[in-house]
């Protein structure tokens, strides 16, 4: 597993030309919205980089994040990056099994203490640690142990970043994201269900180049990929502006590719790079294939009031809540009205008429 060759050596041994390598660096720079002046710096940093040790831990997850990563077609940037990092531990991808797996992880952690990059996918159940264990070790314990020697942590996928599907109401396992447990390490969130492969590798490339995590937004996501929302970059946006919406999935509007807002698209509040990087080698992305954005890179996307309800609709039953208000208002209103009327009637009854004689009498005495 130990490999002292630099990245440049490895790339050359794989028959990748200098030109190809620089092209990759330029793509990486543009992907991360860096200036072209940074390309030589990226090239230099990557050329001299030793294969960094990466430990990948999977907790309460569906392996979709790993599936996403492995679906990147060879020989793409994603493949290059993963050929040149040392993925020392990954339950799904590693050939070893049983105790050998644990040993590989312990060895990698010991050898690269303080330097390895820890990638986590999946949430951590704290309701009862026994809900998810690997080789008898709870996810919570394993994360704490692996985080100690990590240089930084990358939370891949919405489960690790924000709790994701296991965190959805009623959260039976008491699932929490990585940030709830680890407080003393730099953590970057790469959410998505699953995340876009180039976003994962882009973050790794940035870490290799600059030795630190990139600029992040309020939710700990790299600004380069999560700085803009889907709605702003959506090719269907002009239809939104014109007020042209698909009302159902098979009407004329849908066939003409009109805006999917009314069908529940969460694009306006979803920050991700799908609209620009697309999926499957730039083939398509959810909105292009005719389905609204689910908002999968946002916290609580599962509980955002239904995938097929428009974003501007409430998550509660307004008619029902209004009925409560109506009933209470009517009851108290009738009572208050009746009270006022009875007061008025009482005042009228008790009204004493006064004659001029009475007044004169009063004045005399």
């Amino acid at each position: 597993m130990a490999d002292d060759r630099t990245l440049a050596d490895i790339l050359r041994s794989q028959g990748i030309s200098r030109r190809g390598f620089l092209k990759f660096c330029a793509t990486t720079a543009s992907m991360m919205a860096l200036s072209p002046a940074m390309v030589p710096k990226i090239a230099e940093a990557l050329e001299n980089a030793k294969r960094p040790s990466v430990i990948w831990l999977s907790f309460q997850e569906c392996t979709g994040c790993t599936e996403s990563l492995t679906r990147s077609h060879a020989p793409t940037i994603e493949k290059l990056i993963f050929d040149v990092i040392s993925l020392d531990h990954h339950h799904t991808l590693m050939a070893a099994s049983g105790h050998a797996v644990d040993e590989a992880m312990q060895e990698a952690m010991k050898e690269n203490y303080g330097k390895y990059l820890l990638i986590v996918d999946g949430s951590i159940p704290v309701g009862n640690p026994a809900y998810s264990t690997i080789g008898g070790v709870s996810n919570l314990e394993m994360l704490k142990d692996a985080a100690k020697g990590a240089a930084a942590i990358v939370s891949v996928g919405t489960c690790a970043a924000f709790g994701g599907l296991p965190y959805a109401k009623p959260n039976p396992t008491g699932a929490v994201p990585v940030t709830e447990i680890i407080k003393d390490k730099p953590i970057i969130n790469v959410p998505g269900c699953p995340p876009i492969p180039v976003v994962i590798t882009g973050v790794l490339a940035q870490f290799l180049t600059f030795g630190k995590l990139p600029e992040m937004d309020e939710l700990g996501r790299p600004m380069a990929f999560f700085g803009k929302n889907i709605h702003d970059r959506c090719y269907r946006r002009p239809f939104y502006e014109r007020g042209e919406f698909a009302e159902t999935f098979d009407d004329e509007g849908a066939k003409k590719g009109w805006c999917l807002f009314k069908l529940g698209c969460k694009g306006p509040v979803t920050y991700n790079a799908c609209a620009t990087t697309k999926w499957n080698e730039g083939t398509s992305w959810p909105v292009e294939s005719g389905h609204g954005c689910l908002g999968c890179s946002q916290p609580n996307f599962w509980d955002m009031g239904g995938f097929y309800n428009a974003l501007s609709t409430p998550t509660i039953d307004i008619a029902k809540t209004a009925a409560v208000g109506l009933a209470a208002g009517a009851a108290i209103g009738v009572a208050a009205g009746a009270l006022n009327r009875s007061k008025k009637a009482k005042a009228a009854r008790e009204h004493e008429t006064v004659t001029v004689n009475d007044l004169e009498k009063g004045a005399k005495s």
Binding site: F245, T315, I316, I318, A328, G333
Partner: protein, 220 residues
């Protein structure tokens, strides 16, 4: 609390609380107002007053009574312009129509966002002019109480935050949308207990004025 938690709160529990208070308050006020009743009119009626009532709804809404219209030209024009701009923003923006559809069960066609945007800008500018007029006109200033300024601000904020949300000004969209919905929640809570109730009572009170006046006098 992150932006998504905030947005979920205002779209869910926050809106529920606000709409319960709004509906409760409005129902209470309407019962109180309409159950008050009037003293029995012992005089012979000149007419039933119903027709005069409807006529007053129109005349008091401007245009017919030229003397009053001329005297308060600014109030008339700004009032109309602001209200029309605001109604366009509320009722003709597609996301808003979806909201109404979610509890009414039916929707209606929307206007392109550029037109709604223009209407919002017009409403905002007119509201600023209205505030300026209130502050600079000695009569208006004398007649104004604290509530008038509160009500002005609560009407201005949803329009302003809506405009900011659409144009993604200064803050991320998610925060802006949450703030926009929150500003409406606040408006709903305050609505039944301030002059804002005129939205419901304006035509009934105008009708009632005409109705009362129509009954008075002697038949020709």
């Amino acid at each position: 609390m992150n932006s998504m938690d905030f947005l979920l709160w205002v779209r869910g529990p926050g809106l529920a609380i606000a709409s319960i208070i709004f509906v409760f308050g409005m129902t209470l006020r309407m019962f109180e107002i309409f159950m008050l009743g009037r003293k029995k009119n012992l005089a012979e009626l000149r007419s039933s007053g119903v027709k005069e009532g409807f006529r007053t709804i129109i005349t008091r809404s401007g245009g017919v009574d030229t003397y009053t219209t001329k005297r308060t030209m600014f109030t008339h024009i700004s009032g109309w312009v602001f209200h029309l701009g605001m109604f366009t923003a509320i009722f003709l923006l597609a996301p808003h129509i979806e909201l109404f559809k979610s509890f009414l069960g039916f929707g209606w066609p929307a206007l392109p966002t550029a037109i709604v945007d223009l209407a919002t800008v017009i409403a905002l500018i007119t509201l600023l002019a209205i505030l300026f007029h209130r502050l600079t006109s000695p009569v208006m200033r004398f007649l104004s109480v604290g509530q008038d300024y509160v009500v002005w601000a609560l009407t201005f904020l949803p329009l302003l935050t809506g405009y900011m949300t659409y144009h993604h000004l200064f803050f991320p969209y998610t925060w802006l949308l949450g703030i926009h919905i929150l500003s409406i929640c606040v408006l709903l809570v305050v609505f039944p207990f301030t002059k804002l109730t005129h939205a419901v009572t304006v035509f009934t009170s105008r009708w009632y004025n005409g109705y009362m006046a129509g009954q008075k006098g002697v038949k020709q």
